[in-house]
Symmetry: C2
Subunit: 228 residues, 2 copies
Amino acid sequence: MVTFATYAGGMREAFHEQLDSIFSDLAEICQEVETSVRHATQALLAGDSQVAEQVIADDDKIDKARERVEDTAFSLLSLQQPVAGDLRVVVSALRMVSELERMGDLSVHVAKIARLRVPDIAVPEDARPTIARMGEVAEDMVRRVAAVLTDKDVEAAIEIGRDDEEMDQLRRTSFAQLLGDGWQHGVEAAVDIALLGRYYERIADHAVSVANRVVFVVTGQLPVTSEL
Amino acid sequence: MVTFATYAGGMREAFHEQLDSIFSDLAEICQEVETSVRHATQALLAGDSQVAEQVIADDDKIDKARERVEDTAFSLLSLQQPVAGDLRVVVSALRMVSELERMGDLSVHVAKIARLRVPDIAVPEDARPTIARMGEVAEDMVRRVAAVLTDKDVEAAIEIGRDDEEMDQLRRTSFAQLLGDGWQHGVEAAVDIALLGRYYERIADHAVSVANRVVFVVTGQLPVTSEL
């Protein structure tokens, strides 16, 4: 793990130690989000209400973990009074934890669509490859964000932004399918799939945003064309 | 307008003056969001591509205004080094401006659906009353959030949270309609309406969240069952 104490040239100041603890908490929350995304997709594609319920119930853990990170960040701001770059790093951490929590919420939305259609499967068989791939891409992006939070690897973080394009492409493919003449599965399945596409797309957007914030934290600059 | 300088018992400290300036900027951005929501709904219901384009183009102003608020907030944090409650107020302001920007983005999503269907109107006539009402409720909530940001009126802020229930009810009504046997408008219109419902619902969620943050800023406590 690359720590902020490392960046500080070996000075293990209280500030950098607390910052490292915040980032390791963020990485841990991100791993929980990855599990949520994976289980939500699994529940969706298998029509498994038990797994869906688990995703919904486990979201509480992510919410609680978020509160802990916020408390640590506020105490860091209050007690250490960071300025300039250090201040922006702590505020970035607060934003990242909000985004991770939101990604957890979006997994819950996926799980709820799964649960709503049990004993059926929300996604008709011929639409499944695209939705399954969306789930995989989202999960993969979240997994890599967790690694980026641990390793502070700027190149890997920038790479996540590039892979978001596959998600956009999948969403276009999915729309083309359900709005095409060959669609035989009616309105309900189409609406489910449109909303699922939206949820996965938002998970991917947040993943890119968190990755970009890591780039900012390490380099002091955001990747081109992204916003803090 | 109720100012933070007022709360400080007339002491016009630099901190409270800057805080007042942030909150008046937030109120102004919120008014721009209200305009975006209103115009987006108008573009949607009239199939007016010119108004839709305007909403899309004007979003840049909201993004720029957000950057200005962030810069002021960071300079406040750096130079004034607030602790405890004051610190939380400034961080809340940073969160509010993110949410306002997001509400602007969601209006752009509505406008893009409008634009996509021109010269047609995305929403079929019998679905229009529900969608029109969603647009009204969203616009009304955003307008009241702008007033709450100016007046710091806790009661009015809490009221906004209560009115979010109408939005949830409208979303249920809309789903029931497009998934019902009487739906004659095919998949495309149903998908548009499902996504529009999602966008309006999110605008309303963010409005409630910003209102709750104002309650927190004024009272130091969030309304029951809401989260910061």
